[in-house]
């Protein structure tokens, strides 16, 4: 299938023309949601907080909001905030990474009803411009693919993640980019990962990043080495922490790992990267989307419904029961591997077919249902 997407001025491609309404402070969340609901193609980006943050915590939040607004799938980024000082930190940094950028403050506009009218009018003009754009052929090398798993069960590590891993290898071999994350789930798989690091500094960075989450848990009194696999993992057949982590890592394929990215940061060049972000799905896919992923391949076992607003999230499942009972949320049903003994290659082809369709404009279940949410991880306290 020929891949087609929108070519941006800076050479990147976008597979959608989202109009992102970004609430830089949480007082603007309600009006941001109302604006997005009023304009087709608009999505709300409404993390909480945005004021009273300091140091690295503030830097991470701003970097992530900027990253979301700068994602190549975004045609227009409208930043809304209580006042424009906080908002300008975000809108100025997005700058011309989005084709259109604007900033509105609730105070400056004289309240949310006036802001709403002005914003909806602006977004409608942006939508008319975006609708004029035409797709052109692109290559796998143009794509940045996010890799995620959540609501995992035994089938995740056996079917869905290995099938995604075949895709990851194809993308990397074609000169594209892929980002996997959840370092906490890599605990036990350090040897397998570091063997693939492109140099010593990447190796050390991978180890330090996994160790970081081990230490966060220890400070809270939890030794993850002793609690993994958990009782339900053991009942499901996982015996060692090495085995459990490899089930997660298998979505990252087998190719070399070029680097470790900060939460929400974009890679400097093509290749496979580990992103430093916590495992819970919403926080993690928010970080991936801010890192510039065009789409996210999301393996689920028992079922996870959430997607990233600006990075279409493809749900992939190998559990026959879940594919039936959770069908509303599943884009790719791989359960024939288990029910019919279909080979992994055919599962990989099914994932590739859906990736191509979604790149070319087909709607994911998350998009169709509006199951989109953002959560930016906090790493400090507000004052």
């Amino acid at each position: 299938m020929t891949l087609k997407a929108f070519r941006r001025a800076d050479g990147r491609v976008g597979i959608r023309n989202f109009l992102a309404v970004i609430a830089a402070t949480d007082a603007a969340n309600p009006v941001a949601r109302r604006i997005a609901a009023a304009v087709p193609g608009a999505v709300p980006i409404t993390p909480l907080y945005g004021r009273g943050q300091l140091g690295e915590d503030l830097a991470q939040s701003v970097r992530t909001m900027v990253g979301l607004g700068s994602n190549p799938n975004v045609f227009g980024a409208l930043v809304v905030s209580l006042e424009t000082v906080a908002g300008s930190r975000v809108s100025q940094a997005i700058g011309n990474k989005a084709t259109r950028t604007a900033l509105m403050g609730i105070q400056e506009e004289g309240g949310t009803p006036r802001l709403f009218e002005k914003a909806v009018a602006l977004l409608h003009t942006w939508k008319r411009e975006a609708d004029q754009l035409k797709r052109a052929p692109i290559a796998l090398s143009d794509l940045v693919v996010g890799l995620e798993c959540g609501g995992s069960d035994t089938t995740s590590g056996l079917v869905a993640n290995p099938a995604i891993g075949l895709l990851t290898d194809r993308v990397i071999d074609a000169g594209g980019t892929a980002i996997f994350s959840e370092p906490v789930e890599c605990l036990g798989g350090e040897a397998a990962l570091t063997a693939r690091a492109t140099d010593t500094s990447v190796r050390q960075h991978i180890l330090a990043t996994i160790r970081k989450y081990e230490d966060i848990a220890l400070r809270a009194g939890v030794d993850l080495n002793k609690t993994n696999p958990a009782p339900d993992n053991i009942r499901g057949g996982l015996t060692t922490i090495e085995e459990k982590s490899l089930g997660s890592i298998s979505k990252a394929g087998t190719r070399p790992i070029s680097g470790v990215l900060h939460y929400g940061a974009a890679p400097a060049g093509p290749g496979l990267y580990l992103m430093d972000a916590p495992a819970p799905a919403t926080e993690n896919i928010t970080a991936l989307g801010a890192g510039g992923t065009h789409l996210i391949l999301f393996a689920t076992g028992v079922g996870n419904s959430v997607g990233c607003p600006i990075s279409p999230t493809i749900k992939i499942c190998g559990n026959p029961l879940t594919c039936e009972t959770f069908a509303a949320h599943i884009d790719v049903d791989l359960s024939a591997v288990i029910t019919e003994g279909r080979p992994l290659d055919s599962a990989g082809e099914a994932v590739m077919a859906m990736l191509s369709a979604v790149v070319n404009g087909e709607t994911t279940r998350c998009e169709a249902l509006g199951e989109i949410e953002v959560a930016i991880s906090r790493i400090g306290e507000s004052v």
Binding site: L158, G188, I249, L321
Partner: protein
């Protein structure tokens, strides 16, 4: 599995020396097809639930157990081909300080 699915043994990498039962719980002394990275069939020594591992060949005590093409642990005693491999006979290498 809450549906009626004939059990099979799923192999992820061709270097693996264990396979994972998928589908219904496999009864003991049942011949299951091998699918995935290897082919063939294997007879179970005992009942093995969905998601659990069996040895693909006889392995001595102390042998590395290989899944995903890498070592996931070490056997604490010998196992026969088709025997259930889990917490009663397989231990993590991390407990020994291996990293």
């Amino acid at each position: 599995m809450n549906r009626d699915i004939a059990p099979k043994v799923w192999i992820i990498a061709d270097a693996d020396n264990v396979g994972t039962v998928v589908g219904n719980e496999a009864p003991g002394r049942a011949t299951l097809p091998i699918i995935g990275a290897l082919t063939g069939s294997i007879e179970t020594q005992e009942p093995v639930p969905h998601g659990h591992k069996i040895a693909l060949k006889p392995l001595p005590g102390g042998a590395d157990v290989v899944k995903y093409g890498v070592v996931i642990g070490r056997l604490v005693r010998p196992v026969a081909a088709g025997e259930h491999v889990h917490i009663h006979n397989l231990e993590s290498l991390r407990g020994r300080g291996d990293r």
